[in-house]
């Protein structure tokens, strides 16, 4: 799965690091480091973390059966 955190919105509440510690880690007291490609077995925990974020800064891929991967242009 794919995740991006809008760190300009993140205020370091650390709810995500509590709910999905394998995907979200605090670096120092306030800075968040996260895995943008967590394993699919993390999905429920990551979705819970996204829902619990007080500033709603976590975006998880909305496309379950994603559109066909990007076609490279003819060379």
């Amino acid at each position: 799965m794919r995740v991006v955190v809008d760190l300009s919105r993140c205020e370091g509440y650390a709810q995500c690091a509590f709910l999905a510690p394998d995907a979200f880690r605090m670096h120092g007291e306030e800075a968040l480091m996260y895995d943008p490609a967590p394993d699919d077995d993390q999905r429920d925990r990551v979705l819970r973390a996204a829902a619990a974020c007080p500033v709603q800064a976590i975006l998880v891929d909305r496309l379950e059966g994603r559109e066909a991967p990007v076609e490279a242009s003819r060379s």
Binding site: V3, C10, G28, D35, P36, A37, D61, R66, A72
Partner: protein, 464 residues
């Protein structure tokens, strides 16, 4: 046919081309579909693969936690686009509305969005830049190569340039237990973006974490060994540093060369736009069908005396993409201006640095709350007696308070909002090394006499 009918027809079956398939391009494409655009959408990008996120490249990826190809951006929705990847655009013809690709193809459009961003500024001597062990950091390939070099356990890394990227790389090196030298021409790290006061704090942080920080020096030569591997850097004060890896972190170059001759007001400073992300032509006239968003766009900000400002910020790319896309498929009465204040973040040496507003638009700065020596504080920037920016070190929860002060032109210095008022609360000069907002190299010639004839041509667009 009324223009409303035209707009509906355009939304139904028009042709939109987005040049630049990274964060801004992707979010614009999603917004276009969100707004009901059902016509053809073409994404042009010079890198292969799906759009990916860049901020993790200098953080999670360099620590080795996340793979360099693991930062593909999540999608908000299906964009149903034709993707032309791996080929850069080489020209824009506004007489016939075509984007020219480097392989010679011409892609027609009714409206075009330019989001070509910036690329890393390379080391200025090509043969030295080509040495094994010399890196820049902008793409995932760069990050992958640098991560591998760090994992190999170099005896020392040299980082050239102590801006945000260079400082983050130095931080990762120390986290990985790698010796690192940082060389910076300015008197301190981050000084060009945040001024001398914060620069001193950043210098303290680097040295406290064991960085060999050398300020006020210029790297003059990168030396290779017989095998073509970087081994030593020479400084302008005659000193040298032996290292296995050099990272050139000297900022970016805006990707606007392909617009030369297009008639747009584009140059090394970016593409001038209105607040609705509509590009200006050389005469300063707003175009109807050309839009720009992200690092390459240079928009006026009313909060900062309507000066044209370009920003290499993540949130700015997203917000401008949404505004540009909205305005591409809406009429005059429904257009949005992009008026959000810039927000920036950097994670280094275990500290979360964030800023709101434009710190370079200031003449004074004051620590308004917290403690500088603890690296937990907010510094507020003022210009002629009003608040124009704030920078927090591990104090992000307070930035929204300062955002409101900036948006309401609150008097500077503002009162401390918390009980932890710092002891020394005197404003000091902000002390930037040079003006940051001027469009250097924007030289034009005005010709013609009658109002209907007067026109501008670009005379010189020189780098410096």
């Amino acid at each position: 046919m009324t223009s409303a009918d035209n707009l509906q027809a355009f939304k139904r079956e028009g042709r939109i081309v987005i040049v630049g398939a990274s964060l801004a391009g992707l979010r614009a494409a999603e917004t276009l579909r969100e707004e009901g655009f059902t016509g053809s959408l073409t994404m042009i990008g010079d890198e292969l693969g799906e759009p990916y996120d860049r901020p993790p490249l200098s953080k999670q990826v360099l620590t080795g936690w996340v793979a360099a190809d693991g930062t593909t951006l999540p999608r908000r929705r299906d964009v149903d686009a034709e993707w032309l990847l791996g080929v850069p655009a080489s020209g824009l013809d506004l007489a016939t509305n075509h984007v020219r690709l480097a392989d010679g193809r011409d892609i027609p459009f009714d409206r075009v969005l330019i989001s070509t961003g910036v690329r890393a500024r390379p080391w200025f001597v090509e043969s030295e830049a080509a040495l094994d062990g010399v890196f820049v950091l902008r793409t995932r390939e760069h990050a992958e190569g640098l991560q591998r070099a760090l994992a190999a356990g170099p005896s020392r890394v040299l980082v050239i340039g102590a801006g945000f990227t260079g400082s983050e790389i130095a931080s990762i090196c120390r986290e990985r237990g790698i010796e690192v030298t940082v060389a910076e021409l300015a008197p301190a790290p981050l000084v060009g973006a945040l001024g001398a006061m914060i620069g001193d704090v950043a210098a303290d942080m680097q040295r406290a974490h064991g960085v060999d920080l050398r300020c006020g020096v210029k790297v003059t030569r990168l030396e290779g060994d017989a095998q073509g591997r970087f081994c030593r850097a020479h400084f302008d004060d005659g000193s040298t540093v032996d290292a296995d890896v050099a990272v050139v972190a000297l900022g970016g170059i805006r990707n606007t060369e392909w617009l030369r001759g297009s008639g747009l007001a584009a140059g090394v400073w970016g593409i001038a736009c209105d607040t609705g992300c509509r590009a200006l032509d050389l005469n300063g006239l707003v175009t109807d069908d050309v839009f720009a968003a992200g690092d390459v766009a240079r928009c006026p900000n009313p909060v900062y005396e309507y000066r044209l400002i370009s920003l290499e910020h993540w949130a700015n790319a997203v917000e401008q993409a949404e505004v540009a896309a909205h305005n591409m498929v809406n009429g005059q009465a429904d257009r949005w201006p992009h008026l959000t204040l810039p927000v920036f973040w950097s994670i280094q040496f275990g500290v979360n640095i964030k800023s709101v507003g434009v710190p370079t638009f200031a003449d004074e700065v004051i620590v308004s709350q917290g403690s500088v020596s603890d690296h937990r504080f907010v510094a507020v920037y003022g210009y002629r007696g009003r608040v124009t920016a704030a920078v927090s070190f591990d104090n992000a929860k307070w930035l929204d308070h300062y955002r409101k002060l900036i948006e309401t032109a609150a008097p500077f210095p503002p009162p401390c909002p918390t009980p932890d008022q710092p002891a020394d609360t005197k404003p000091v000069p902000v002390d930037f090394p040079g003006p940051q907002l001027l469009a250097q190299g924007a030289t034009v010639v005005v010709t013609g006499h009658d109002p209907g004839e007067r026109r501008v041509t670009a005379a010189q667009q020189h780098h410096r």
